[in-house]
Amino acid sequence: MSDAGDRAPRPVGRGRQWRVLLGLLPFAALAVVWVALVRVFGVRLVFLPPLEDLPIAIWGMFANEGIAGDILISCLRVAAGFVAALLLATPLGIWMGYSPRAQRTFEPILGFIRYMPVPVFIPLCILWFGSGDLEKVIIIFLGTFFQLTLMVQDAALSVRRDFYEAAIMLGAPRRALIFRVLWPAALPQIFDSYRVCIGWAWTYLIVAEIVGARAGIGFYIIKAQRYLMVPQIFAAMILIGVLGMTTDLLMGAAHRRLFRWSERNTAS
């Protein structure tokens, strides 16, 4: 029934370390290709810096260029935009998933707006809100809210109908069904939607910061490009990757902890 249920049992103990090693293999392959491109094929340093320059570049970013401040600003922007989207999308999505009338009312407009690429909002937002933090937060909100609402709705709609009937037959009044059945039943999938959306939030943040900003990681990349500081561009990209992956790992761990009961979380 669940996708995890069909998989072979996971190895334990030493097998766990081996799994982590497996995940590192593509990284190693990427490094080999990189070094080969520079050393063997002689790609010019302006396009691809030597791999060994990257640690120095990363160190320099923190030591001399105050990247930590940019990271903090970027993280706060993501957090603000994403939390705002989450707080509005969750109740709206649940309402749409519960009430067919709400679904009929909101689904067309959400479906319409969500196909507008987020960058098309940037010129207007800069016009209305300037190019400060507010504009970045709003871009992230616009990029995630519509998608997230529809994903939450989908999670709410996928709650088994017989759970409602079972609750009713146990004496639960209709008004209790949302909080006592729909919400707990749909929460793991809703949490998954959060996890996906926070990745998009990072993307939209960088887009907004590259188009116009005075701080943040995206701004750092644009600055580095202007001065042809290529190692710094790569270093910043790696940083974004690490930040994104950390968020995702944390969300994944939280999912396993919060939803031990879920069929998907096989370890119990």
Binding site: R160, D162, F163, E165, A166, A167, I168, M169, L170, G171, A172, P173, A176, R180, V181, P184, A185, L187, F259, R260, W261, S262, E263, S268
Partner: protein, 278 residues
């Protein structure tokens, strides 16, 4: 009296009265009549079996008694009154596993007590614990549903339904998804639970042996649209055991019902085949 005493509660008042029940669904190939002219009276305290071929519409009967669906026409009286709100007079055990996976076994059994019984969380759990013990799940109180076998899941569902102390317990093929050994064990356990109580049980099944083992009275349904084909009293005394299956009378009755049902099952099959062609 001796004669009648064997099948319980013959003379008590009616728990459920169905008159001229009709239910029509909007199917893809036009309207589909699930029930037609379905009438019966189920006495208070009776273990009533609704027996019929698969897909004949017998589940619809309990869903209507439960209040989960309205009949297209006809009268339904539960404890003498029309059904206005589902879940008030009846508890229900479904064929699908409907225990809530986000709750532990104990929390599942206590779920309905929040709405039907007074007291705080502690008292509710105390009461739920009794029912967990009754269905033999005392050691699994804190387990989640995904950790249980199919039979255990249905025991949670039975305990949850019984904990709210409904006057009428509806069971819609509750053992239909279980393997035959588990099924027999569950039948025995259900017997031991219901023999000591005065609950009305309305149990839907297509299994003739199950019907004879559990029921006081069997309502045999026709092929779709379901109506009453025959009503039979099951004369076996309590306490009943699986050894009943070895009795000659059991075999005779099984054969008799088999004959009644065979034509209906054929009719059902032919109709299903016709539908597929259409």
């Amino acid at each position: 009296m001796d004669d009648q005493g064997q099948s319980r509660a013959r003379f008590r008042k009616q728990a459920v009265r169905l008159r001229q029940l009709r239910k029509v669904y909007d199917g893809q190939g036009g309207p589909l009549t699930a029930l037609d002219n379905f009438s019966c009276d189920i006495a208070d305290g009776e273990f009533a079996i609704i027996l019929g071929p698969s897909g004949c519409g017998k589940s619809t009967v309990v869903r209507i008694i439960a209040g989960l669906e309205p009949p297209t026409s006809g009268t339904v009286l539960v404890n003498g009154a029309p059904v206005t709100e589902a879940g008030k007079a009846c508890g229900m055990v479904f064929q699908s596993y409907t225990s809530f996976p986000w709750l532990t076994v104990l929390e599942n059994i206590a779920f309905g007590l929040r709405y039907t019984a007074g007291g705080g969380r502690r008292e509710r759990h105390e009461r739920a614990r009794e029912f967990a013990r009754m269905v033999g799940l005392a050691d699994f109180e804190n387990a989640y549903i995904k950790q249980l076998s199919g039979g255990m899941k249905q025991r949670v569902a039975i305990a949850s339904a019984l904990a709210t102390d409904p006057g009428i317990l509806l069971m819609d093929e509750p053992f239909g998804a279980l393997d035959s050994q588990t099924r027999m064990a569950m039948q025995e356990q259900l017997l031991s639970i219901t023999e000591g109580s005065d609950k009305t049980v309305i149990f839907v099944t297509h299994d003739i042996e199950e019907a004879l083992l559990l029921g006081d009275r069997i309502y045999v349904c026709t092929a779709r649209p379901a109506g009453i084909l025959a009503e039979l009293d099951v004369p076996f005394p309590y306490p009943r055991t699986p050894a009943l299956r070895a009795q000659k009378k059991f075999g005779d009755m099984k054969y008799e019902i088999f004959h009644l049902l065979r034509d209906q099952a054929y009719a059902q099959m032919l109709e299903a085949a016709g539908e597929r062609r259409r």
